[in-house]
């Protein structure tokens, strides 16, 4: 199934929620809508599903124009943020409801299909309970099972994991990856976390304040962000941005601190937190600073340091303890740096080895 948006934009009252955009979703793949809250992810997703009608522009499915169609006629499945199930029905009836309504399968086939899905999502022991009796994670699994039951060509998930526990989120994210890989429908997954986009892989559409900034394979968009805005939207912790002056064959961050990179005039040097290291390697640029705060996130430590070129955040693998105010030298290899021109467009990105 191929979903295409032609010049779609959406205005609610005086407010422009979505600026005109063209987007062709790669069929049968996972597309992640990445952007901060209020970036327009949910609005765009509701237009794709047909829950709302765009102010103008066309929504096409496999070439046919479905812009005005009521959502009942569109064959879509959707999972919401706050685990939406039919409270008055048991888990089994919840999952079976789209199949019963479609009426193609007889009772036994539906029962078999429901049991199969329940096993796949580890909720087979809850089939005869009411959704309210389940935990948050289990309720979301029921909503997922119902969406998968439809085997709709287009499946939409609006930040499905945001209300779950940290560790449960990690497990479900991995399960979702496997479920999408096995399925043959086009999946659209909205999230605010860059890590989720990277882990789900597939394609990523970066959005900011109602604009579609860039669309492409996830690793490609991450490693070669088209502009400063994309880089900012697609990095957690925020990318370090340093003002530099280009003198032909070298970029000067500060008198005495230069990178052997081509560039002319005022540029912005983008350094990802993972590019900064505390161990020196040949050809590195050393930046002196002192520790302001150390944050431990999962298996990494983010060190916030006040340095001679301003505030920097470095990402170190494993758990490290730093005394507040302790002196710290950060090392940077010129090859691992992004460079953006005065207009904020990418002019140079670190070369990439390995499967793209």
């Amino acid at each position: 199934m191929e979903l295409t948006l032609r010049g779609v934009s959406h205005k609610v009252g005086a407010q422009q929620h979505l600026y005109p955009m063209d987007l062709r979703l790669t069929p049968n793949a996972v597309t992640v809508l990445l952007g901060a809250t209020q970036a327009g992810k949910t609005t765009l997703m509701r237009l794709m599903a047909g829950l709302d009608r765009p102010s103008d522009g066309r929504v096409q499915v496999d070439g046919t124009d479905v812009t005005g169609w009521p959502v009942r006629k569109r064959d879509v499945a959707m999972v919401y943020q706050q685990f939406i199930n039919y409270p008055s029905m048991t888990v089994r009836d919840n999952i079976a409801s789209p199949l019963k309504l479609r009426g193609q399968l007889d009772r036994a086939a539906i029962r078999k299909r429901v049991d199969e899905l329940a096993d796949k999502l580890h909720i087979e022991m809850h089939l005869d309970k009411l959704p309210a009796q389940l935990s948050g994670g289990q309720q979301q699994r029921v909503a997922l099972a119902r969406a998968l039951a439809k085997q709709a060509p287009l499946m939409l998930l609006d930040e499905p994991l945001v209300n779950l526990d940290y560790k449960l989120r990690e497990e479900l994210r991995e399960e979702l990856g496997q479920l999408f890989a096995a399925g043959q429908s086009t999946v659209v997954y909205a999230t605010t976390e860059p890590a989720e986009a990277l882990q789900l892989g597939g394609y990523t559409a970066v959005m900011d304040a109602g604009e579609l900034l860039q669309y492409g394979p996830t690793a490609e968009v991450f490693h070669r962000p088209a502009s400063l805005r994309v880089a900012r939207a697609f990095s957690d912790p925020p990318m370090n941005l340093l003002i530099a002056q280009g003198f032909g064959d070298r970029l000067q961050l500060r008198p005495g601190l230069e990178l052997a990179l081509p560039g002319q005039g005022g540029v912005t040097v983008g350094v990802r937190a993972s590019a900064l290291r505390v161990t020196q390697q040949p050809g590195d640029l050393a930046i002196q600073g002192e520790v302001e705060l150390a944050e431990i996130s999962g298996s990494d430590t983010f060190v916030h340091a006040r340095t001679e070129v301003g505030e920097l955040v470095a990402q170190l693998t494993g758990v490290h303890d730093f005394e507040l105010g302790a002196p710290l030298t950060l090392y940077l290899n010129a090859a691992h740096v992004h460079v953006f021109d005065a207009a904020g467009l990418l002019t140079r990105a670190p070369e990439r080895r390995g499967a793209c």
Binding site: A49, L51, P70, V71, R72, V76, A77, M78, Y80, Q82, I84, Y86, P87, S88, M89, S97, P98, L101, R102, R146, K150
Partner: protein
Amino acid sequence: MDERRFRKRTIFLIAYLLFALLPIYWMVNMSFKTNEEILSSFSLWPQHFSLASYKTIFTDPSWYSGYINSLIYVAINSVISITVALPAAYAFSRYSFLGDKHVFFWLLTNRMTPPAVFLLPFFQLYTTLGLMDTHIAVALAHLLFNVPLAVWILEGFMSGIPREIDETAYIDGYSFPRFFLTVFLPLIKAGVGVAAFFCFMFSWVELLLARTLTSVDAKPIVATMTRTVSASGMDWSTLAAAGTLTIVPGAIVIWFVRHYIAKGFAMGRV
């Protein structure tokens, strides 16, 4: 400090409960006395217990027909009000449309209009329509007050249900009527119960319209009771018995909706 405040609160509560129950108790007490005993002696408890007045009510057709008539038009009114109010409340709760605010306010003003204002026009209207002295007349007249109330309460309860449930149902392929009946209604059972309780409450207690629009066939109990007031010599005992019997349906209905009473009164706004 906690005990003293607790005792102060319970004293106030008990005092109010006494204030609320004493008048009712006094009427019930009188309903078991004969007229002679009422007028002759003054006692907190009926000396010789008599069910005479209850017997008269249950045998005299002019009395018990009053109850039946009341129950009939109250039932008709409640059913019509709820069936009509459900779709409208759904529209107000789920969509915004041209003039929705004004219509909602207009409904509210109808609920607040004194029955007296419409006394004359209803009288004229129903005579021309030939509907005078029928249950339908009273039921329709009470619609003016019960429908706005039902819409207001149901809209409050419906707004408590997340809109995503409707969308999920439409996505799954439910048509609106099937969704409304099989998915949505079970979710607002409480709301429907409370709205029915309010419709019952209003039309069961209203006197002015009920008395004016009926004469014989559909005369409700509330009307028959005022008749005894003007009768020669006060038949207190039967009056008290009739009054006690009008409280019974109310008590039963309250018992069924006791969990949602508070929420219902706040029009589901809470």
